[in-house]
Amino acid sequence: MWNTYLSKIQSSVSAFLCIALLAGTMALAPLDRHGEVLKAEALFGIGDVVFDPQNAVLNNISAIAANTLFIKEMSLDGIASGLAKLVLKSITQSILTWINSGFQGSPAFVTDLKQFLIDRADQVAGDFIYGSELGFLCSPFALDVKIALATTYQEQQHGGFDSQCTLSDVTDNVEGFLGGSFNEGGWASWFEVTQNPINTPTGAYLAAESEMYARIVDEEGRVVRELDWGSGFLSFKVCGDTQVASGSQENCSITTPGAVIEDALTVNLQSGTQALIEADEINEIIGALFAQLAQQAITGVSGLLGLGGGSQYSDNSFGNNGNNSFLDALAEEDALAGGVRNPFVDAINLEGESVAFQNEIVTTINASESRLQNAIQTYGNCIGVVMPPKLLSDRSIALTNILTSSSTVETLLLLNEIYVNPADTQEQIEVIQTYQEMSSVGLITNEVTLSETQFYIDYELQDDTSALDSQIRSAINRCNDDD
């Protein structure tokens, strides 16, 4: 792990020196009129090869190999954003057209919806009436109440249903029961029965009915939630008058997909939209869909076919960790209005974190060395322990890395200054290219590198210094015993 890290740093330093030597020519590298280098930088392997720009296959490979990040920064982010907006517009327009057509002339989904609700309400009522939900009722007349509830519900929901028995029938039965059992409970029971509504057949019926309908309403309306998305996910400009010839538009207003759809529903469903869906809910769900789409991994042939390259193949994927598709990477970013982000700020911050890690390595190893020095000063040659070469090497590397990161930060700051205040667009493109070159050779610390360093600190370094401390303690004990 650490050696791999070392390897990367060393290769990065060398590569950066090469870049620096080419600095004068980098900005002059053969670009086509769209700013793309017409040469593969052999990121897939062997030396530079100038490809035929008219060979579609090689040209694509060249673009991916040499300019992936360039394309991402300058094109793909804008593409993702542009396509997302088109999708939203197209989805809204399609829904709108469909609603305005009267739900395609046959509002099947609306009638389906109502039937579904009736079915579900029936199920809830049935579960309530025939299930164990009536356990709270006093047992002598629970069955009678169930019958009454079922009867009433059927009458109300389905109309004209000929009930098998009426409430009064039930009540008569219950009264007969009660009338014959007074001696069982005496006055105490009588008061209990008469003063607690649940203990009377009528009271129990009313309570049960209320509870049943409460549950149905709850089941139907449970999804109503506070919306946290309504504040303008995406605005549409809807124009009432558009002159086709001139393209001029009048009577325009800004609205949202949800509002547009809700308005259409209001017009086409006279009952309004309350029973269907509200604008904020539409916006929320569409917004959530796009959030999910951004995270949805869609694997291309490389992943799908499990393609592995030869030993020289280098991954040059998007994202800070190098594993993301461009849209995934997009979701990681603070996209600016223009669709192009400033990569330097994040890179500078990561370098700062890297320096902090490297300092931690140096400090930890220094502390172990101090403990060893103290022991040697106290016990002299009896200690017989020396600093492990690996720790010395690791510390040396960490010190080098601190210098490297500091150097990189200096460069990034300068590039950032140019990026923020470019003389022209071309200059901005050039500094982005420079950044990509630095990134592609691993000069710029990324989150993967940081994770590896963190792993090294937490495990490898911890083990190594603990082993040294253990040796020192054993040596001290041995020296004390010798004395």
Partner: protein
């Protein structure tokens, strides 16, 4: 050298000077210690990991979504044309998703939760971006695995790519980006030549007789060509079927990397099998991938 180039060069040289110092220190360290350097070898396709959603202004709305909060509104007519049966992925998805949305909202506890609804929709969409792969049933296989046969086959694969010049000389993404930026669907016509080129390359390569030992590599190349072709075809429909374009763009990078790797693997196996070509052959650039 322009002033801008001077500025960039200055920045790089300043960094280089500092790095040089670092290198010296590093070299010194190396001279005192022996360190084994691991070779960095990538043997598998890049893994995809969960993304980190950032919300730098901490307002609860992810940054990427905020990027969609347009300052320049999308134009949309308030009146709509007559309804027609949806024939694009975007239209079909729109109606299906809307109905599912309404049902989910109204079915309450019996319907899908919003999370389920969105996840199902996203998965359904992702499935639309999957190609039907070519199999051994689709190719012609030759029993001849001799070095001569391998050489001839390798040269044929390379030569096919040169038969159909891509006169646009622009990357497809550059064309698409410009089209979206200018909101001009006519710009996408520049993709037609690429579609034609890849269609022809795919067709011709598919008809080659493949040495028996190279079936897998050949199929990978075919499927890679097909994937890139389908991506570009989807780009072409950005204004009429933007959802399809969006989905295919999400795999575009991976498809191009796949194309590079599949060609790299193919020629590596050809070389391993004894195939040789003259210097300057049409194959040469493919050996450098």
């Amino acid at each position: 050298m322009s002033s801008s180039q001077k500025r960039i060069s200055g920045a790089l040289l300043a960094g280089a000077a500092l790095i040089a110092g670092a290198l010296l220190v590093n070299s010194y360290a190396d001279s005192n210690t022996t360190t084994t350097q691991d070779a960095v070898v990538v043997t598998a396709a890049p893994l995809r990991t969960a993304i980190k959603i950032t919300d730098n202004n901490d307002d609860g709305v992810p940054d990427w979504q905020e990027s969609l909060l347009v300052t320049s509104a999308l134009d949309m007519a308030s009146t709509t044309d007559g309804f027609k049966e949806p024939d694009t992925l975007t239209e079909k998805f729109a109606l299906s998703f809307f109905q599912d949305m309404v049902r989910a909202e109204n079915y309450g506890a019996f319907g899908d939760t919003q999370e389920e609804l969105v996840l199902e929709a996203s998965n359904t969409l992702a499935a639309q971006a999957v190609d039907v792969l070519f199999t051994t049933q689709d190719i012609r296989v030759s029993p001849d695995n001799s070095a001569e046969a391998l050489s001839a086959y390798g040269e044929a694969v390379a030569r096919i790519t040169t038969l159909y010049p891509d006169t646009s000389e622009e990357n497809a993404t550059v064309i698409l980006a410009r089209s979206l930026r200018t909101q001009s669907s006519t710009e996408l016509a520049a993709l037609d030549i690429k579609i034609e080129v890849y269609t022809n390359i795919l067709q011709d390569t598919k008809e080659l007789a493949v040495p028996n030992n190279l079936q897998r590599e050949h199929l990978n190349v075919l499927n890679s060509y097909q994937a890139v072709l389908t991506d570009i075809q989807a780009m072409r429909t950005a204004f009429t079927d933007p959802m399809l374009a969006l989905l295919r763009m999400k795999r575009y990078e991976d498809d191009n990397i796949g194309m590079a790797i599949s060609l790299q693997n193919l020629y590596q196996k050809l070389v391993d099998g004894g195939a040789t070509w003259d210097t300057g052959s049409v194959v040469t650039p493919f050996l450098a991938i």
